[in-house]
Symmetry: C2
Subunit: 259 residues, 2 copies
DNA sequence: CAGTGGTCTAGACCACTGA
DNA sequence: CAGTGGTCTAGACCACTGC
């Protein structure tokens, strides 16, 4: 049974077919895919969709394409989809790990100047604050401090929703909240006394800090968060090549404020 | 005078023209580019190159494209090209800052097991070790500990080359060394006594650690490095959207070894 | 030097957006 | 509902790779 919907665009179906074939070892790392001409014949199509499909695989980092020879399968480090960069739960699941969480704070408060600035709202507006200790395979890994604007965060008080059970993001999506754009600012920080107590480390220990801002398609900020990761457990990996610069990645001097 | 070479592909010239027009404010953020049909007429070409050019701008994060309306110009955070992720000098220059460096160590040593493993060479082979204190606009910012394989690093001993003056990477490139693929592992670490003395901070302070591995097109590792950034001065920014996942970016539990 | 991918043309039909 | 972008076809010429 094909994984792809029958009404998906042809180039998507071709890309999926090739991706599956690679995953199943039919084209091992280092080998070459069939030539465009072969694929054109195989799928009974013209050159456009075939090239588009190969371009998808190239953008995913699965193949390298150069003139004169067919696409070569390369060792592939999976790219995290958007959800994985924003949702701890989906990140853990995509890695085959068991995500866990303990909600320490879930409350509605009035936005102070910092929060209002980060969310682009007025001081005093109601916001929902969430603090959760996140773990993976049972081991504490990260302390998440999150602030949602009211009309997004209100869904966290839905009767029957247990923030310790499911993914907040999955719940918000199911509630019709569209999370579209994510921005992450990454640096290091020293563990506060609260960090230290909850993560069971010494105050002042280095932590990997990821400050997240998530917005909808229109650019309205829905959430701002400050995540503190245990550095022994987490590392961010970036790969790029000279001819395919990583899109949307930058290293900035001095922390700019949230966009 | 057009910035683009006259013999560049048409779609590149179209993309450059549009990029320039956006930069010059002819299409402010939020406005829409001309429709494909208009551009087709304007450049006297068919639809292919026009679409390809728009795709380049979309991949760069400069425009958003959706059905039913022309491409919309979006607020754009510049993406760092490959060189900027690998070369401190070019990173600083791309930001309009003044890079500086003080070379503390430049020596040829025999690879121990760790180094040999990271570079994919035999224990005991000669490698070139470089330690530099990097600064920006005169302020110390990062401590760089770098190991090059012999045939790349040997160029650092070229008579007349001053590691305190120019960029090592620019020098290597000029010497015919091709740096193609970069991998970066990012986490936090505590300042060692040496870190602390050189960066003028307290031992144990949090530092942003970036471990880099740079390889050529064939996958042979040329350099492995361990950079310690002052966290107050540096932050890594990642942006992505639901329909354009950042390519080649991943968040991994537990530091895997160098690829 | 045969075969490969890179680029381009000139058409076509369709789904969707925005006034 | 007119115009937009999304997809596809069927050709073409060229630069380059690898045998």
């Amino acid at each position: 049974m094909p994984r792809t919907a029958a009404d998906a665009p042809l180039y998507v179906r071709i890309a999926d077919a090739l991706r599956d074939a690679i995953a199943q070892g039919r084209y091992p790392v280092g080998s070459r895919l069939p030539s465009e001409a072969t694929l054109r014949a195989e799928f009974g199509t013209s050159r456009g969709p075939v090239r588009q499909a190969l371009d998808v695989l190239r953008a995913e980092g699965r193949v390298e394409i150069a003139r004169g020879a067919a696409a070569r399968v390369v060792d592939h480090v999976p790219t995290q989809p958007f959800e994985s960069l924003v949702s701890f739960t989906e990140w853990a699941q995509s890695l085959g790990r068991e995500p866990g969480q303990r909600t320490l704070v879930l409350e509605r408060v009035a936005a102070d100047a910092d929060i209002a600035g980060a969310l682009g709202i007025e001081v005093g507006e109601g916001v929902i604050r969430v603090v959760r200790l996140r773990s993976m395979d049972g081991a504490p890994m990260m302390l998440e401090r999150s602030i949602f604007v009211a009309d997004a965060g209100q869904h966290l008080f839905t009767p029957g929703f247990d923030p310790d059970a499911g993914s907040i993001y999955q719940h918000l999506r199911a509630s019709g909240i569209e999370l579209y754009r994510g921005r992450h600012l990454i640096d290091a920080t020293a563990a506060s006394d609260e960090d230290a107590a909850l993560l069971d480390i010494t105050p002042g220990s280095p932590l990997l800090r990821v400050r997240r801002t998530v917005a909808d398609r229109a650019g309205r900020v829905l959430e701002t968060a400050d995540d503190h990761y245990l550095p022994e457990l987490t590392v961010i990996s970036i790969q790029n090549t000279a001819d395919r610069p990583t899109s949307s990645l930058s290293l900035l001097p001095h922390a700019p404020l949230i966009a």
